[in-house]
């Protein structure tokens, strides 16, 4: 036993950076809803950015390790552990994580990473397909998981915090920057003139939004087209859906816009009844923002490298 799950929490899954190479076989990417938070958590414990972590939803688990491990929590703020810094958890010491104080999804990285059997090149859990992660499902009370081999700190657990986070500031009222989608011009104004509320029928496949119905000027049915995490599709009822990590690879609904990659962490942290608005930017601007974010992550990676053996 490397990691004992005493209490599983509300929806705790094993996720790495996702199953990116099998879209042609119809396999969703899965992986973390907030990939930046997962990458940072890994860096804080000396893992490679793509190591498998626990994605924690709204209520945290109670965990114990059989050996000493360094852990870090990023993303949503949870009761029970100071976020954005490494901690040492001794063998047999219980980690009891409570409810989310802000945001919706937290990432717990453990030095060495969660070492479940990869499926199609990834340890990410695909809940609907029932494969990947731990037995293809969310963790349950009393599960035991294997961990990988961890690196060590040069001198004790670092007394440091993440400084200058590349994560956008989470909030329960956010503005999401989007670029136009293939059918963006077919809709009457409406996406940018109101705020939307997140429906409780949202999950890892997508966030369902509620607002004044968006109206499409044409009624022509579409062939299925590829979709990506961040695609905003509009079914006939006019209530948009932001597709996320577990979304299908193809979708038949009109695509009004796509949330920029840099703002996807904001979407991941929204809860039911949170509100959001959209603003349009250009593709060039979206890619500039992405380059800036990656530059910041590179600086953090370089800065942390010296602290581990």
């Amino acid at each position: 036993m490397d990691m004992k799950i005493h209490k599983a929490g509300l929806l705790t899954t094993v996720q790495d950076l996702g199953r990116t190479g099998y879209r042609a076989s119809g396999v969703p990417v899965c992986g973390p809803m907030d990939s930046v938070a997962l990458r940072l958590a890994n860096l804080l414990v000396g893992n490679s950015e793509s190591c498998a972590c626990l994605e924690i939803t709204l209520v945290g688990p109670e965990i114990e390790f059989s050996g000493d491990r360094i852990i870090a929590l990023t993303g949503a703020k949870l009761q029970g552990l100071e976020p954005n810094r490494p901690h040492l958890l001794k063998a047999g010491q219980k980690l009891n994580l409570g409810s989310c104080v802000s945001g919706a999804r937290a990432y717990l990285a453990i030095s060495g990473g969660v070492n479940t059997e990869p499926v199609l090149g990834s340890r990410s859990t695909y809940l609907r397909g029932e494969f990947g992660g731990f037995k293809g499902r969310a963790l349950k009370d009393s599960d035991s998981l294997k961990l990988g081999v961890s690196r060590s700190f040069k001198s004790g657990v670092g007394n440091f915090y993440l400084h200058g986070s590349p994560l956008p500031p989470y909030s329960s009222t956010v503005n999401l920057r989007v670029i136009s989608g293939a059918q963006g011009a077919e809709f009457l104004p409406g996406l940018f003139t109101q705020s939307f509320t997140v429906s409780s029928a949202s999950d890892r496949m997508g966030l369902r939004l509620m607002g004044k119905a968006l109206q499409r000027k044409v009624t022509q049915e579409l062939r299925s087209h590829a979709v990506i995490p961040g695609t905003i599709q509009v079914p006939a009822d006019g209530q948009p859906i932001i597709l996320m990590a577990d979304a299908q690879t193809l979708g038949g609904y009109p695509q009004i816009a796509h949330v920029c990659s840099v703002d996807l962490p904001l979407v991941a942290q929204l809860k039911a009844n949170d509100t959001l608005a959209f603003s349009l930017i250009t593709l060039v601007d979206a890619q500039e923002l992405l380059k800036k974010r990656e530059h910041t992550i590179t600086l953090i990676r370089e800065g942390l490298r010296e602290r581990f053996i």
Binding site: S25, G26, F131, A226, Q248
Partner: protein, 243 residues
């Protein structure tokens, strides 16, 4: 027979900031599927490090890419990436007047299907709706060589083109909460197979004992975009004894 000889158009559109869609026309037009697959093979062979994954679907190829890794020689811009792809397409004959030949054209894949009413909850209703006998529906459905236009909806689910127009039917008004794994259905002018027990809105007219998706195989999907498929009717006995 009139032979059209015009060079193929190609167009590009951004799918968010990390993917782009290349369109080579309507998949039902002659030669478009071949062109899609010649382009996919050429892209796989080039395999530039800024391309993360490819997804052929209908008359399109979607490229998932890493904007950060776009080489400076391309100017690092979306337009430059599109120009690079277009040059590759031209050099590989993807846009030539004559439909490019597929390098290794495989034989059609035979999928056994049991059309027994116990496995085909909508078969009798389908027959009534299209004003044919159940036998005639089975005969028409299994007489055609279909073409996989896309894999999607669920892992391994093939969208098959080539359905006899007499069998064209709208999807169910209310989708079923669960269809059995292996169910063969008709949705609009397409037919398809549900690899898993999932919710489904297509008219179910049979079931295959064959596994359409297996994570232990590479690729995990039995069928790929561009494959040809034929359905072979089998008895209930053969279905239950299938290994």
């Amino acid at each position: 027979m009139q032979v059209r000889l015009k060079s193929q158009a190609i167009s590009f559109s951004a799918l968010g900031d990390s993917a782009l869609e290349i369109s080579l026309g309507d998949a039902s037009e002659a030669g478009v599927i071949e062109r899609v697959h010649v382009l996919v093979e050429a892209l796989k062979k080039e395999n530039p490090r800024w391309i993360n994954a490819l997804l052929p679907a209908y008359g399109t190829v979607v490229i998932f890419y890493d904007a950060i890794k776009l080489p400076p020689s391309l100017g690092g811009e979306y337009e430059a990436a599109c120009a690079w792809i277009k040059a590759l397409a031209v050099s590989q004959g993807v846009l030539a007047r004559r439909t490019p030949k597929l390098a290794n054209k495989a034989k059609p894949i035979e999928i056994p299907v049991c059309y027994d009413s116990s496995l085909a909850p909508d078969l009798e209703l389908v027959a009534a709706k299209v004003k044919l006998s159940v036998e005639a529906v089975i005969k028409l459905h299994s007489a055609v060589t279909y073409r996989v236009h896309a894999i999607g909806f669920a892992p391994g689910f093939p969208y098959l083109a080539g359905l006899n127009p007499k069998l064209k039917l709208p999807r169910l008004k209310t989708p079923r909460e669960k269809v059995a794994a292996g169910s063969v259905g008709i949705g609009g002018d397409q037919t398809g197979i549900y690899p898993f027990a999932t919710p489904g809105g297509w008219n179910i007219i049979g079931q295959t004992p064959v596994k359409l998706f297996d994570v232990k195989k590479e690729p995990p999907s039995l069928l790929s975009g561009g494959d040809e498929v034929i359905f072979k009717p089998i008895t209930k006995e053969a279905f239950s004894q299938w290994i």
